[in-house]
């Protein structure tokens, strides 16, 4: 479903060229739960940005659902992010002035879904992460775990091909982190494909497959 072929990413920092990814290839099947691990500077963030269609590779191809997305323009990429990818960030990245309901609704607004349908979908997504009674609350009125659950609801609401999580437990205590991981496991059992970037082995253990990066190359790729 997802195929990455010889992806390179080169940044131009002043006069210095930095090669963040030096030719990475792998594929991910539908319904898998993959953890991407590696020390800082290994290129895992860059890889995540490319998989998330937030950034384009300098070289190589990226096929999503059979379609090469590595050369698309900004608007097409925005459409793919909207329809096919659900993001969960370390910093939660919720809109601080908007209610939880509005936060979860936002991807649907950009997808052009009508108000009534939008409300319904957002409510059921929040219900599924146990926040059905907090619709009117704002992000600063709830706990960190609840914020991350809101972000998961937002990632789910468009029924994406991939849920892309970037250090989803990095800003949470161990117990809350475990709760979040249980939600991810449940979603995976329900058939969602999940790709998660982390540097914590305890968290990576929840995945079915771990890809380890080092210095812009795949160091190890193993199934658990």
């Amino acid at each position: 479903m997802l195929e990455i072929k010889k992806i390179k990413k080169i940044y131009q920092l002043g006069k210095v060229k930095v090669e963040a990814l030096k030719g990475v290839s792998f594929g991910i099947e539908k319904g898998d739960f993959v953890a991407i691990m590696g020390p800082s500077g290994s290129g895992k963030s860059t890889l995540m940005h490319i998989i998330g269609c937030l950034d384009k590779p300098t070289e190589g191809n990226f096929f999503l659902d059979g379609k090469d997305v590595s050369k698309l323009n900004d608007d097409k990429l925005a459409e793919i992010r909207n329809k096919s990818i659900g993001f969960v960030f370390q910093q939660f990245n919720l809109l601080s002035r908007a209610s939880l309901l509005h936060n979860v609704e936002t991807p649907l607004i950009y997808a052009g879904v009508k108000v009534k349908k939008r409300r319904e979908l957002a409510k059921s997504a929040l219900d599924s992460v146990g926040l059905g009674d907090r619709l009117k609350h704002r992000p600063n009125e709830i706990s960190g775990g609840e914020r991350q659950r809101t972000a998961i609801a937002r990632a789910l609401v468009n029924n994406p091909l991939i849920i892309l999580a970037d250090e989803p437990t990095g800003n949470l205590d161990t117990k809350t982190g475990e709760e979040i991981m249980r939600i991810f496991n449940r979603l995976n059992q329900e058939g969602h494909t999940i790709i998660m970037v982390t540097h914590e082995p305890d968290i990576a253990r929840h995945a079915r497959r771990i890809i380890r990066l080092r210095d812009g190359l795949i160091e190890r790729d193993e199934k658990i």
Binding site: A78, E79, A98
Partner: protein, 405 residues
Amino acid sequence: MFFEIIKLAFDSLRTNKLRTFLSMLGIIIGVGAVIAIVSIGSGAREQITSRISSLGSNIINILPGTSRGWGGRVSRSSTDIFTLELADYLEQVCPSVKRVLPLSQGSGLLINGELNVQATLNGVNTYYPEVNNYNLAQGQFINEEDLENNRNVIVLGSQVAENLFGNTNALGEKIKLNFQNRDHLFTVIGVMEEKGAGLMGNLNNQAYIPITTFMKKLSNSRFVTYYIAQASSSGEASSAVSEIEFFLTKYLKDEEKEKFNIMSQDEILETVNSVTASLSLMLGGIAAISLLVGGIGIMNIMLVSVTERTREIGIRKALGAKNKNIMSQFLVEALSLSGMGGLVGILLGWLGAYTIAQVGKWPLVITPVSVLLAFGFALIIGLFFGLYPAMKAARMDPVEALRYE
């Protein structure tokens, strides 16, 4: 989607009310000033125009000319050309002219016992009230007999009468007139009605005596100060002007037209109109500059807002917002700022114009054109100055934006 974007803009403006208000202020003041100034300009013009018309629409002033000073000759006003005979001559030869009224003018001190007042003294004939559309309040005006016999009779302007006599009756009273350090005794025979200030100064502060008395007893001159000519009708005013010009040029052998100066009501109106129009234009221009400054204020605040919300922009882009979605979000925000500023400005401008119209006692004139123009200009400014910040927001790289702290 459109409705969502508007709602988003207002949500964002609501979260920072003081900042929103301050950035609107420039536009509010600009639009308010444009509307108030245009309205005050037209109101004042309407008042001046109606005042001039009330003085008589077919009046032509014939004033002494000013000769240019060159080649050692000193520039001076021609004072020794207008005689009573010339007035009669013009009245006879010009077919479109009904009357030519000679006037002698000077300043004199009027004294009644302990009270005195400095007034403009006019030597006039019996047709003065008719020509100037200016009537008596009490008594009677100078008649033919007064003129023939050079009688010492005087008609007072309303202000002069009040200053000298208060509320008591002035008719028949004798007052002293001090003119060029000589005293004369005059009998009050009439008091004029109250009238607003005109082109020839405040009429209420004037007094009238027979022109013959003025010339023979006061000025000892056979020349008068100027003429007021009355055209047969307002339609014939312009032909009357050309006739007077033609005959005066011939009579005075004044090819260079230096000795006299003709001012018709139309010309005065034209002058007033052009003066008030250019004044309005100038003030309107200054107000428009403040609108421009307001626009720069909006741009400034939008740039700050875009920077502050970099992360929000990143989040929205990650969730699938296209560049045009982000662009319209910020553009609508800038437009809402300038639009709301414009509406408040219209209200403020109307209030200002209304207050000043009340104080100035002229009609409140607010043309829809000026309102639409000011509002439209405000929107255009919002669009223009909102464009750059909106483009800046739309072009942000999502990865960079998400990383922004």
